[in-house]
């Protein structure tokens, strides 16, 4: 029985290995391009490193951030749908899984609203945009710290170790 359960759990892990790799790559790109929205990489010589010059080009990092966000939203939508339709009965989220998921959704939601404000038909008054910016940064910092904590203490998303 235990063996069967382990196999059931192992199967999605195997299937989703490439999605996990894409998720990690997307997180790296979205974090780098997100930090690059602040004028820090040029100031602190990071953009001087070979291959990292793009980090100092605001329009390039803006596009990369949006592209990474689109991929991340795609992956999260995929994962949530799979969880709700298929994996809900056999995989249960750990507290750190819930925390990461909530922070990730907060990041995506605040980011989506900030994306809307870059459109011509921006519906938000200037004061709201300040709070949205701060919320997005706060979600990002909390999410990164949580990821770091989970990596250090080997906390998994689900109780089955997936």
């Amino acid at each position: 029985m235990e063996k069967m359960k382990a196999e059931t759990v192992e199967a999605p892990k195997e299937r989703n290995r490439w999605i996990y790799a894409l998720y990690v790559l997307t997180l790296v790109m979205i974090t780098l391009s997100g930090f690059a929205q602040m004028p820090i990489f040029k100031r602190y010589y990071i953009a001087d490193l070979p291959g990292l010059g793009w980090l100092a080009r605001y329009y390039v990092t803006h596009l990369i951030h949006y592209l990474s966000a689109a991929v991340l939203i795609g992956i999260v939508s995929y994962r949530i749908t799979r969880y709700l339709v298929e994996d809900r009965h056999r995989l249960s989220l750990t507290p750190s899984g819930y925390l990461r998921g909530s922070l990730l959704l907060g990041l995506i939601f605040s980011g989506a609203l900030l994306t809307i404000r870059t459109l011509r038909a921006n519906p938000f008054p200037p004061e709201t945009i300040v709070y949205l910016d701060l919320a997005h940064i706060l979600f990002m910092v909390l999410f990164l710290f949580t990821l770091l904590f989970c990596a250090l203490f080997k906390n998994k998303w689900t109780k089955s170790g997936f």
Binding site: R15, Q37, M38, P39, R43, Y44, Y45, Y58, Y59, H62, L63, Y66, L67, A69, A70, V71, I73, G74, I75, V76, S77, Y78, R79, I80, T81, R82, V85, E86, A112, T115, I116, R117, T118, L119, R120, A121, N122, P123, F124, P125, P126, E127, T128, I129, V130, Y131, L132, D133
Partner: protein, 326 residues
């Protein structure tokens, strides 16, 4: 016949925009008509007297930076202090103390000599990259289309200047919020630029540069009306328009008897001296991607449902095989 833009129509537009600002709504939401106010500058009228420059400095003097000295040491060393406080009288370019200046050009076009002067300041783009890309929300666009930099929030990172197609905002070190955080390692002062006298406009007054102009070079009014008027003027005088399509559209419309390519070659450009080149919409690609982002969740959900269906089919076929074998 285009409708004359009078002080009355301008004040009506301004009052409507103020009322909308007061209730915190974007004017575009509340009205089908765009509420942006635009200015029309007929540069054939400008005599380069500099009255607008002086009026701007006097009217906005209370907004100018009063930096604390000595400046905090900047880290790393490559971060340069930008100090205009000892050169407050500089009026030949844009500085934190000079938000409009007169650009001049001597050109010959179609065998005729022109000695043209034109006030240069922020173009107040319809979709301003300085506002949209500011990481803190320190750059703001008001419902009436005015973009302004909030000196209480700005950290002086100068991103707004880098993303501005005309590099309009100018920095003053030693002032602003960064002094209260980590002044040596974060920020470098505050960025300044024309705010089109947003406070005067809120009170129903004209921007100072428009009010004092003895030649009535500038007019202000709802963007649609200003554009209609600019096109009528251009048709009448066989003149050229700048600012209507630049960077996807701005709220500053110049009308010149000489093509702007010709003018651009004749004016002095450089730091604090903006060009008159054609400018593509800087936000266009990003906003296209933003719309494409709407497809991402659909793609994710479709992919997941496809996988679930595939798995279910595989499991069913496997089950059938097993029962057949059994």
């Amino acid at each position: 016949m285009p409708r004359e833009i009078t002080r009355r129509t301008f004040l009506k537009g301004g009052a409507a925009a103020c009322a909308l600002a007061a209730v915190g709504l974007n004017a575009k939401e509340a009205s089908a008509e765009p509420a942006h106010l635009a200015t029309l500058l007929d540069i054939s009228k400008c005599i380069g007297c500099g009255a607008c420059v002086e009026a701007c400095r006097e009217t906005n003097a209370h907004k100018f930076p009063e930096p604390k000295k000595p400046f905090p040491p900047m880290l790393p060393r490559r971060v340069k202090v930008e100090d205009w406080s000892e050169k407050r009288e500089e009026s030949e370019r844009l500085t934190p103390y000079n938000w409009v200046y007169i650009q001049s050009a001597q050109v010959t076009y179609q065998g005729k000599d022109y000695n043209l002067t034109l006030p240069r300041r922020c173009m107040h783009c319809v979709n301003p990259p300085c506002v949209k890309l500011c990481p803190w929300g320190a750059a703001k666009q008001l419902p009436n289309g005015i973009s302004r930099l909030d000196s209480d929030l700005c950290l002086g990172g100068a991103k707004c200047k880098e993303v501005c197609p005309w590099s309009i905002p100018q920095r003053q070190t030693g002032v602003g919020l960064y002094l209260d955080i980590l002044p040596s390692v974060i920020g470098n002062g505050v960025m300044y630029k024309c705010d089109r006298c947003y406070d005067r406009v809120t009170q129903g007054k004209l921007p100072a540069c428009i009010e004092v102009c003895p030649e009535r070079v500038q007019e202000i009014g709802p963007r649609e009306e200003i554009l209609r008027k600019a096109h009528a003027l251009a048709k009448e005088k066989k003149a050229f328009i700048y600012g209507e399509k630049e960077n996807g559209g701005t709220n500053t419309i110049y009308v010149s008897p000489v093509p702007f390519e010709v003018l651009n070659r004749a004016i002095e450009t450089g730091s604090g001296k903006p060009h008159l080149k054609k400018v593509p919409d800087a936000m266009k690609e990003g906003n296209r991607l933003a719309l494409a982002m709407l497809l991402a969740p659909i793609a994710g959900i479709a992919g997941a449902l496809g996988s679930v269906y595939k798995n279910a089919k595989k499991w069913r076929d496997g089950g059938k095989d097993e029962s057949r074998n059994g």
